[in-house]
Symmetry: C2
Subunit: 312 residues, 2 copies
């Protein structure tokens, strides 16, 4: 042992993994890090995985649907688990993972397929909450700037938002497509705010776009926020808290989401059984300055203002 120490011997983890059949590597696939939400997720993932004595192999960049070379690489490195954030595997590929016995967890996404686990938040309820908040604020004309239209997050947020608005008698929502992209969100905002019947309440599908939309509204259209236009976002990312924006936003409990993701992975790895598990968490509507504040329903908890209808 002393000699080993002296010579700086370190066991070769790669040789070990060959015989143990465990690489202790988790692959994390993140299409893009531009949305500030994801770097935060990544950092937290790194923290938890290291605690579990796992390494994090990162794949960024958009994956093409089926024939991804990225996927081949995951398999070649015999990763013990895969976390997919802001990407979805084709059904073909997730099948392959399942047969190869590699646990897969979708982060902030779901699919109909039952084979792969997922961790999400109640996006539909979130969408409803946003609508309730804007209705309580006395708004009359509602808009929505969407994310990627086929994504489960976008779909669920919009469905909940629309449901609650329709129940209140508003069935004419102005919709623009933002694709979770700044530039596209800006274009959608320009188009929407140029309309003679422009909305006075706007739900933007995530904060990453909401920041861009606020800049367009304020500096290109000269609108006062929230006097002329209320904006609500989603995710509660860092920039939402910056005073210049102060975005009222549905939060996603990032730490708990990451924790659930790692838990699912760890239990599937150790049990060797891959039974799809779906963990669904809840967020809160964080009230700041980007949207008119209703007379009641806003409570203060630990210095943060949260909208909880029914309470005051």
């Amino acid at each position: 042992m002393a000699a080993a120490q002296e010579l700086g011997y370190r066991p070769n983890a790669i040789a070990r993994s060959l015989i143990t059949n465990r690489s202790r590597i988790i692959a994390v696939v993140m299409a893009y890090l531009e949305n500030l939400f994801y770097p935060d997720v990544l950092e937290e993932l790194g923290r938890l995985l290291v605690k579990e004595n796992y390494r994090l192999l990162l794949f960024t960049g958009h994956m093409d649907r089926d024939s991804d070379p990225v996927f081949d690489q995951l398999m070649q490195y015999r990763v013990d688990g895969i976390i997919l954030a802001s990407t979805t595997l084709s059904s073909h590929l997730s099948e392959e993972c399942a047969t190869a016995g590699i646990p897969v967890v979708l982060f902030n996404r779901t699919t109909e397929r039952d084979a792969v686990s997922s961790v999400t938040t109640r996006n539909r309820e979130g969408g409803r909450r946003v609508a309730e908040f804007l209705l309580a604020g006395g708004h009359k004309r509602f808009g929505y700037i969407s994310g990627v239209e086929s994504s489960s997050t976008n779909r669920d947020r919009f469905v909940g938002y629309r449901e609650a608005l329709v129940e209140a008698g508003h069935d004419d929502i102005v919709v623009g497509v933002g694709n979770y992209d700044r530039a596209e969100a800006e274009a959608a905002a320009r188009e929407m705010l140029s309309r003679p019947d422009r909305p006075d309440a706007l739900f933007v599908a995530n904060d990453h776009m909401a920041v861009a939309v606020m800049d367009v509204a304020r500096y290109e259209f000269g609108l006062s926020i929230p006097e002329d236009l209320s904006i609500v976002g989603y995710d509660d990312v860092g920039a939402a808290r910056w005073t210049a924006y102060g975005i009222t936003s549905m939060s996603q409990p990032l730490k708990r989401m990451v924790e659930a993701t790692v838990n699912i992975l760890m239990s599937q790895i150790s049990s060797g059984e891959i039974e799809a598990e779906h963990r669904i968490l809840s967020g809160e509507l964080m009230v700041r300055t980007s949207a008119r504040v209703p007379k009641s329903g806003v409570v203060e908890i630990d210095g943060r203002r949260i909208y909880k209808p029914g309470k005051s």
Copy 2:
């Protein structure tokens, strides 16, 4: 081959690496992803490494100086190269890498030690440029909010800034310590702006802090920017371009920096020779709205405004 295809055979990269003595894995160590500059770097690194057929093993979280377990893990996975961003290895550890024949590149950092390569920008010239710009803007009283005081980036930026100011007869710079941290930068700004002789020109060591400082100046002190206070940042990160901030900032050529980093690594890996190489690139002072604009020296290139003293 047909059979292999049918059975979904994929070579085991780990077994291969055992015999080839090449893991085709590069370790990237990033202390924190909070500063928006680093996620961008990470994404670009991912792009280039994948092109070179390398994988990216990510380590986040602060490393303790000498005895880091993280470093042990790097070694255990027999990574082919190490990129250190926003962290420095102790001399002891970089020595070990050298003897183990693993190339190391410091990204956006340097050390006196010659054994390890680095990619940086001309921070001292950058600091000078900022000073020249603020002097040309007619400012009288200069402040500086620092990064981590021991870091080479911070030191060089400040040295250049001070040099140019002293040459112009200003040797009384008000200095606050921001440690590249939002909260600390805010505290430093509060302290500095409360002074009776508060500066009218403020160089903040990076944009990540500059955003926070601007919010403090505007919303806590009611200052107009740039009328009451000019602020210049560093890095030219995404948020600097958001209209609400519009930070005048020294850019760092991120893509070229990443390219140089990967190049150094690749050439050292293929040659097997680890000779320290220091690549130093240049940035530009991107002119936006957070600082008073001098009468001359600002040129427009591809729709971006850049300060190039001596030209107009």
